[in-house]
Amino acid sequence: MPRKLRVRKHRVVLNRSAGGDAGITVMLIILGALMFLPMYYSIITSLKPLDELWLFPPRFYVENPTLKNYGDLFRLMSTSWVPFSRYIFNTVLITVAGTFGNLCLGSLAAYALSKIPFPGKKTMFQMIVLSLMFVSTITGIANFITFSALGLVDNLMAIILPACCSTLGLYLMKQFMDSSVSNEALESARLDGASEFRVFWSIAMPMVKPAWLTLIVYSFQGLWNTGASIYIHSEQLKTFNYAISQILSAGIIRAGASTAAMVIMMIVPVTVFIITQSNIIETMSSSGMKD
């Protein structure tokens, strides 16, 4: 890294204009402010006491910050007829089970698609790439029929099973294995008599830690935000995000509790991203799509 930096400085001397640098900095600050201010405003609003919430004109700062809105939020939620902990339990169950399933199935398949030259693997990978080109809403109705046939309507498995075969994580992991797991290491293990599964588990997997972290993060983010679903009717099977969206739908009347809810929903994925950022970027460096 430090060596790369020195090269960069040298390059700046070569063909960077001061005007260009200034222009880019100004652009970045303006765009950054536009991105950040809505976030900031929700966080600030969630900390406002009642009299500051209804100030006219509204302010972009808070004088007497309070956590009362968060207390209100939990009071609001405990009045719902399903215990609030049930929503959280559902979300955690879906997220953990779906992510775990996606990780196990996805990394096995990614390894085989990347490192075992079996006939048909090209077609299979093309199908994966094709699946990145449309949103899953399209399959919703047909899946409803499948779930009715399997007796899985109004069952959390209807959320977990499709999540296990989500393709983005598999795609990224396969590409990462292509570029960062050397065939020589695998080949020598195979010559020593290791089974394909053994090679996968003890040689390939440890080498692609950034990729499985990325898969976990993407699966986690998708599932954590699971809201209302056409497959789930019972109130006691609904998710945390669904419960929150009920509060949000009251709009500005409950601005305090709503913003508190948004901040709580936001904190978990953002924290996860902060921790894993460097790994995700490393994985993305091999995300490229060949035609």
Binding site: L14, L113, S131, I138, T139, I252, I281
Partner: protein, 319 residues
């Protein structure tokens, strides 16, 4: 890689590929690498059941009339005829979906590219921080609902308060009840949340461009950073540009949720009604399976076609 193993195979056994028919060779390879099939099987069985089969099932069901209770009845093209000739709301939905896609897709793509490019030369720590600022909205769940509060129709909405305070307007604007504001606002919010996977992919792509290429470019007479971007950076990260395009296009068709949260279901005069909403309405609420399958099929074709077109277009970069 497959050639390597093929070479070894030839050395190990006297039978070479030339002595076999293609089918024999394939069968031999299949048996030899059967572990591969076992490893992809669990994923692909689920993938077929929940993604591949549903796509085809929707296409088939789109030629039927089906309400989940009685047997499906074949009606051939009736659903499509009804969609395009009798369903004005669907035509509005197609129009809105295209407007959405045309605005959010390319703009978010270019925004991802340029922001990634702007921050490429910052120090790693600073770059990580700026990445977080730009990326956070795309992963922050329902945070976009804050725009409902910022643009609220009464005086307590921040934007209205600001406009009234400085005498631009006397009466608060009904942002989400006025058809001429709803679409632009929804596009704005969609853009706010759109710096996602594409953005990260570009950041990574820019980081992997070999620094010596830039040095060589400078010697070969590259004058400024624009030339550098066009002649060196973009051609080098072409594969990332392709992946980013796919993610952006797919994303740009899937913004239904934001519109519902901000403008309601349905939005005023269906002014921001998209194909996603139409699908939800007929599939998720009225259970007209045949009709909604036709909608899903049209949306599917739209997404795949635009992806293919862009792929063609991008393959020309640097040629």
């Amino acid at each position: 890689m497959s050639q390597n193993t093929a070479v070894k195979e030839q050395k190990a056994k006297p039978v070479s590929r030339k002595d076999m028919t293609k089918a024999q060779w394939t069968w031999k390879e299949m048996k030899k690498h059967k572990a591969g099939y076992f490893m992809v099987a669990p994923f692909f069985i689920l993938f077929f059941v929940f993604t591949v089969v549903p796509v085809f099932l929707s296409m088939i069901l789109s030629f039927t009339s089906f309400n989940l209770l009685e047997m499906p009845k074949v009606v051939w093209l009736d659903n499509y005829v009804r969609l395009f000739l009798d369903d004005d709301i669907f035509l509005t939905a197609v129009q809105n979906t295209l407007i959405f896609a045309v605005f959010t897709g390319p703009i978010s793509y270019l925004l991802s590219l340029f922001v990634a490019w702007f921050i490429n030369e910052l120090s790693p720590r600073m770059r990580a921080f700026v990445t977080l600022i730009f990326y956070a909205p795309s992963i922050s769940g329902a945070m976009y609902s804050i725009f409902g509060i910022l643009f609220s129709s009464d005086r307590y909405g921040y934007v209205n308060a600001f406009l009234i305070e400085y005498n631009f307007i006397d009466e608060p604007i009904q942002f989400f009840q006025n058809a001429s504001y709803v679409m632009p606002l929804c596009i704005l919010v969609a853009l706010w949340t759109s710096l996602g996977v594409t953005f990260l992919s570009f950041i990574a792509g820019l980081q992997t461009v070999d620094a010596s290429l830039y040095e060589a470019g400078a010697i070969d007479g590259i004058r400024n950073r624009w030339q550098e971007l066009w002649y060196i950076t973009l051609p080098t990260m072409k594969e990332q540009l392709m992946f980013g395009a796919v993610m952006s296009i797919t994303g740009s068709f899937g913004f239904g949720g934001i519109v519902t949260a901000l403008a309601g279901f349905p939005s005023v005069d269906y002014c921001a009604w998209t194909i996603m909403h139409h699908l939800e309405d007929y599939g998720g609420q009225r259970f007209e399976v045949g009709y909604s399958s036709a909608i899903a099929t049209i949306l599917f074709i739209m997404m795949i076609t635009s992806n293919m077109l862009i792929k063609k277009l991008l393959s020309k970069v640097g040629q």
